[in-house]
Homo-oligomer: 134 residues x 2
């Protein structure tokens, strides 16, 4: 069911500094910062040869990563995102297995303009897990 790893999201306290570190010290190709106000984050995409890393900084008062950074002030690994071809079929299979979908259980339009949902971390061994329909 799950296909490609779409991205790994890393929360960082200072996106400008993090992007510069990835560019200079790790020699990675990094995008300009992309404000995504409807998702409460500003993102920098680190393009790897086979997938991407998303560096996320809170944007606005209700950022979904604010609590994470309050708990992990230096930053940290926030979530992984797997691609699926049919997100409702994936959701139904997961729910039937006992996994919980965050929110009202319906896919939302994610940061890439495609349907996404998040599984409850406790049902996937502590890793916040996003599914994206591609």
């Amino acid at each position: 069911m799950i296909g490609r790893l779409n991205h790994v999201a890393l929360a960082v306290p200072d996106l400008t500094e993090a992007a510069e570190r990835y560019r200079t010290a790790l020699g990675a190709s990094v995008s300009e910062p992309q404000p995504l106000p409807e998702h409460g984050v500003t993102a920098v995409f680190v393009e790897l040869d086979n997938t991407k890393i998303e560096l996320l900084e809170p944007l606005g008062a209700d950022s979904p990563i604010a609590a994470f950074l309050a708990k992990n002030p230096r930053g940290g690994m926030h979530h992984v995102c797997y691609e699926v071809s049919d997100i409702r079929a994936a959701r139904d299979r997961l729910v039937a297995s006992g996994a919980r979908v965050l929110g009202d259980g319906e896919p939302k339009i994610g940061a890439h303009g495609k349907p996404v949902l998040f599984l409850h971390p406790s049902d996937v061994f502590g890793t916040l897990t996003e599914l994206e329909e591609v």
Copy 2:
């Protein structure tokens, strides 16, 4: 400098249960458990279309993931691993940028039989980061 994302490592408290969940609920292709006593873990490789997830369970008394699981008993995201073509050149570039390499600073042979090193999480925004020479 960094090329492919080689893997994302997720620590889990029960590898058998986690592998079965990834196989059945997420529909992923999972390997048999691989005991890696010299690295203090047993690993299950979740093969995705573009990279892999490594599910890790502690093995032995001095497992490097035991403290992480004591702090995160349900499991969680442990590290990311990027591929580099010359690990000593990568190390020198990172050290020149102010990043610290864990241990004595020399690459070791990792779980895939190739030279690896780990960067101090505080120098990469809280994410434990492995480099592997391929």
